[in-house]
Structure formats: structure tokens, C-alpha cells
């Protein structure tokens, strides 16, 4: 009888002192990391210059003409491919008069001397790779076609080059 009494008290004690389950919450963190590379910078370094043009006489400046060809200088992340695209005017203008400009040519190279340059069509664009120093040089040439009665004057137009990674 005594052993049963002791057992009963132990059971009662265990039942009465049971601990309720507490809600558990925990957390942890991780880090997101990125390394942003050098942005692209483009400079119009030299104009495409036809110089003196005579009515009725077409004049061409080749992209290989280092003195008169238009030139863009590009800088960005070293050894990274880029895409070149162009907006090319169809005419040059002067005080309401226009003169056709056609047959665009292009050369891109890693050196300002154009050594190792690659010819391309500006109308089609190109996908060169920047140099190990993050540089690229792009030349543009074209042909103007003055009419026989082309009005005298200074004719201009804008060639826009866009560069993206």
C-alpha cells in the first residue's frame, strides 16, 4: 500500500509539472556581393573632314585616313567585348541646302595608330573587344556627292556612335 502511494505521488508530480512547448524562432543572414566593372566612356576625338569640295565632283575620305577620318575613342573594362552601333546621316546641311553623304566605311583598332585595325561597315555595326588597357579606337569614312549646282557653303552633319557591353 505504501509503495502504491509513493508511485501515485510520483505520477501526480510528473503530470502536474509538465512544461508547455514554447514557440521557436530563429534566423540567420547571408551576404550578396557584386563587383561592378568600369563604365563605358566614348569621346568624339576627331571630325570626319572632307575639306574643300567642288560641285559635281564626289569626294571620299577613307576610314584609314588618320588625318581626316572621323575618330571615336572608347574606354571601359579591360578585355571586355562591346557592341558598336551608329546613327549615320544621309545628307550634310548648310543654310537649308543639303548634300548627300554615302558609302560609310569603318575601322576599329586597339591602338591610335590603327595598327592591327579591322575594317567593318558602320551601317552593320561591330562587336570588338576592348584592349587590355580598356581602350578602343574607331574610325569612320564616307563619300560626299555634291551636285553640279551645289550651293557654296559649309556643310555639316552628326554621326553618332553608341557603345554597350
Amino acid at each position: 500500500m505504501r509503495s502504491i502511494t509513493k508511485l501515485s505521488l510520483v505520477v501526480a508530480a510528473l503530470v502536474l509539472t509538465g512544461t508547455a512547448l514554447q514557440a521557436q524562432t530563429n534566423n540567420a543572414s547571408i551576404t550578396a556581393t557584386a563587383s561592378v566593372q568600369t563604365p563605358i566612356n566614348v569621346v568624339g576625338a576627331q571630325q570626319l573632314s572632307f575639306g574643300n569640295v567642288f560641285p559635281g565632283v564626289n569626294k571620299t575620305v577613307n576610314a584609314t585616313d588618320l588625318a581626316n577620318g572621323g575618330r571615336f575613342d572608347v574606354s571601359g573594362q579591360a578585355s571586355t567585348p562591346v557592341t558598336l552601333s551608329f546613327t549615320l546621316p544621309a545628307t550634310l546641311s548648310s543654310a537649308g541646302n543639303t548634300m548627300p553623304i554615302v558609302s560609310y566605311t569603318g575601322v576599329h583598332a586597339l591602338l591610335a595608330t590603327q595598327v592591327g585595325g579591322v575594317a567593318f561597315s558602320p551601317a552593320a555595326g561591330a562587336t570588338p573587344t576592348l584592349s587590355g588597357a580598356g581602350a578602343l579606337f574607331v574610325w569612320v569614312g564616307a563619300q560626299v556627292q555634291p551636285a553640279t549646282n551645289q550651293a557654296a557653303g559649309v556643310y555639316t552633319g552628326s554621326i553618332v556612335m553608341t557603345v554597350v557591353y
Binding site: 501515485s8 501526480a12 530563429n26 547571408i30
Partner: protein, 154 residues
Amino acid sequence: MKRESWIVLSAMLVGVPLLAQGKPLTVTGIRGVTFGAVLPGVPRVILRTDPANSGQFDIKGPKASVLLSFVLPLTMTGPAGAQMPLMFGASDAGYSQTQAIGSQVGFDPKQPFTAAVPNNGRASVFVGATANPATNQRAGAYTATIVLNVTVLP
């Protein structure tokens, strides 16, 4: 004997139920989200299924239902305080009862998600994201912190 029997029965009827303590809950950050080299103007996507670059948390705890909720950054911070937007898509988080990156249930990390921890008390959560650098994003190292909260549901 009758008196003892009544004591036992009474105690069992009115006593507080004895409940099991359960395993302790732990959450561990295993791997961060790594975007690597990011080019200005070019979004960089890391999928939650990317074994090298996705983020991973491991959960260890009782066999139970748990509520998962993230604290997500809107931007990453870089040099001189520059900010780069960070986006989390509707399926950029994944829960795996087998802790296998190839076996996940996708969910939106921007919303709380209820999951079941299996018998062995172990599970994993994977996370991906998209970094959106501007075309003039300042070059340099960027970081952000992602927090996962886990709560065992009653």
C-alpha cells in the same frame, strides 16, 4: 488502495499535459549570393538553382511546420555609398526537404512561406536575385545582407 487510485486518476484528469520539449531550432547561413563581375547597364541574374552562386540557408529542428520569411534588401551598397538596385522575383526562393539544390519548391521570397520540416529535422532554403546596375554605375565592390527568419508553427 482505492484512495491512491483516486489520487492518481484525479491528478491525471486535472494535471497540465506533459509535452515534449522538441529539438532546438537552428538556422545557418551556408552561402551568399554571388553576382561576381557586373557590367554597368547589364542586369545580372543569379538563379536559386545555381550551385555556386545562389544563396543557401540550412534549417535544423523539430519535425514540424515552419514559417519562412525573408528580410530582403532593396539595394546593394558600394563605393562612396553608391547604390545598385537588387530585385527578387516571384520564384527566387526555393525550399528543399532533402537539402538538394536540384529538388526545390519555388516560392516568392517577398511573401511568408509555410513549409514542413521532415522527420530528420533538416531542410534547406535557396535564394536567387537580379542586380540592376545603371549605365553609369560606379565601379567597385557592392554588398547587401539577406536575412531568413524561421518560426516553428504550433
